[in-house]
Symmetry: C3
Subunit: 261 residues, 3 copies
């Protein structure tokens, strides 16, 4: 794992990251992608998603605001990504809150070969059948050891599980990488989870392995959050500073700032 | 009415506020809800709205960008809220500009037991059959006494009317509470009306009465607008400062800062 | 061409600008419209677009996030605009990336009398059949002379072509106006192209000719970008400062700040 080198490759390669995401955070994840140095594209029409995915270095599926046409487009884009070897990130926003969300996330996991599942402990636990408390899309608690949850989810679902929280845990079913970068202000605005999924897509497009890419993304996003918190007086100014910090991330110092075990 | 105590209850209880709102302001109303201390959830699929509403402390319906599927979902969510005693806010964005908007707002008022109707004088006047000048969704003028308009609308429609403007007037058909908090910069960005409806939902979830909750919300939002204006140099910086100010609202001083008669 | 006088007329007349645009930038283009001094309205339902367009001083069509219902609404709104002499701006976001985008832009150009086509060189080149490199919606390169491209596109399509880039070129098929205002930070956030199309709509609503209005809009938007860059430390703070700068644009100095040839 080498977040500094990965960020260099990302800024040189400027991968296109196709995002089928929710209405609430589209602008935010597009701007986070641009600030980091990649190119976002949002396209959800069944008429064009396969063609757009074929142009992309990664595909990010986010179920934050669902409807049937969008779910069909996500499945079609996911299959197109699989055919072409394009890595796929799934962010199961709101899983556990309603049956429709949970069923949709399970259907995507069934029909698409997801590379990285990025969610907090409650959502990931729900998807692997462990009891969790879910309130809407924002507040979630899951008992137990998050490192073990990441390993179990990765193993059971056959993917890399990226379980984010105060400390993040990324696992491919065997190794577990813990990332302790970040700041509590990240929880004060909507869409930072969705942004971390978009950033995961950016890093997957240039990663040496899915495990590395998922962890490198959380280091980079967490360090940007730490920097943004230095100049913020509340959630509004933190939100603004987060884009400035993503754009200012320094590949030369990223490795030494990584809090990884 | 006690905005300080209500804000304390809101931050302790962290109610989930289900919002079916327009594409333009979804991020903004979610972030205003979070900054205040409650939890937003956006969900509009007919497949899940009733289940989501059942989890919520309040439901906010906003017709700012309409289409038929969304209207059906709003009605279904509204009825689910009524069955469970969840308070419902309606924000009739753009009523009077097109027949579709006006018909939709009237249909919601017919089929759902709305707790609070939050809009400016022109829109509320249109809904109770008083002539008003409406231009798109932003600019509206209505003649006459806004206190009397609030009382008449509340009485005619059987709800609490929250008529916002330079001075806001909230009425249950008998009492009228006037709230003079706020700042002209609130009119310089899109979505502040929609945010005040979302904030109304937050306060309704913890209110002792709908009249109190609606007025407490406008005090809190108006005071935050006053604080944001202190550090703003224009609409962009005001927008950012508004979230900082909502998060920094102090329950201990809110009652004395309320300009209520 | 007189950007200062045009801005004065815009702020006095406060034209309503009807925008059928993409989910990513709706808030941004609405706030740019408001900051400049006009009134935005977003409405996309087939049930109401014709009625809304009839109230407007300009119509802006942007195909950034497409689906069939939206395309139908754009065509209907465009025809309603044509019947009433309301100027129409088309922003062909993503043209060249997928057949659906390219076909949709061509269909709109066939079925609607578009007043101004606003896009960068790659997209405009694609629409007139010149080879261009398109990556998603963000990164585009087209060979050749952009002034000649603007003239050829205007002549071939029978409209005013507004080809934006480091230097913008606006042509009615005969005259070509070059506008050199702007700042590289405008490319660091998503939606600035879409904002410039919205601002074009604002100026068309008060313009003496489509050629003048399109160029005046790019002067005003570019000068605001220059001012925002003075206080920005990165893309997040630039984004915020851009709204402040649009609101602070001074009609008295705009003409002398215009870099027009």
């Amino acid at each position: 794992m080498n977040p500094g080198d990965a960020l260099r490759r990302l800024r040189e390669g400027k991968p296109l990251v196709h995002q089928i995401t929710n209405y609430v955070v589209m602008n935010e994840t597009a701007n986070a992608t641009l600030a980091l140095g990649a190119l976002p594209v949002m396209a959800h029409a069944r008429e064009e998603v396969e063609e757009m995915t074929a142009l992309a270095g990664a595909l990010v599926l986010n179920i934050g605001t669902l409807s049937p046409h969008w779910v069909d487009a996500m499945i079609a884009a996911g299959r197109a990504a699989n055919e072409r070897g394009v890595p796929v990130v799934l962010d199961p926003v709101g899983v556990g809150a309603t049956r429709y969300r949970t069923d949709t996330a399970r259907r995507i996991l069934d029909e698409v070969d997801v590379t990285v599942l990025r969610g907090n402990a409650g959502k990931v636990a729900t998807l692997v059948g462990i009891d969790a408390e879910v309130r809407g899309v924002e507040s979630i608690a899951a008992g137990g050891d998050p490192a073990e949850l990441a390993r179990a989810a990765a193993s059971q679902l056959g993917l890399v599980a990226s379980v984010t929280g105060a400390v993040d845990h990324v696992s491919d079913g065997e190794a577990v990488t813990a990332v302790a970068n970040g700041h509590p202000l990240l929880a004060s605005i909507t869409g930072t989870g969705c942004m971390s999924s978009a950033v995961t897509g950016c890093f997957l497009a240039v990663a040496e392995s899915a495990l590395d890419g998922a962890a490198e993304a959380l280091v980079a996003f967490g360090v940007a959050g730490e920097d943004a918190a230095q100049v913020a007086v509340g959630p509004g100014s933190f939100h603004v500073a987060l884009y400035d910090a993503l754009a200012a991330l320094d590949p030369a110092t990223l490795n030494e700032r990584a809090k990884v075990t």
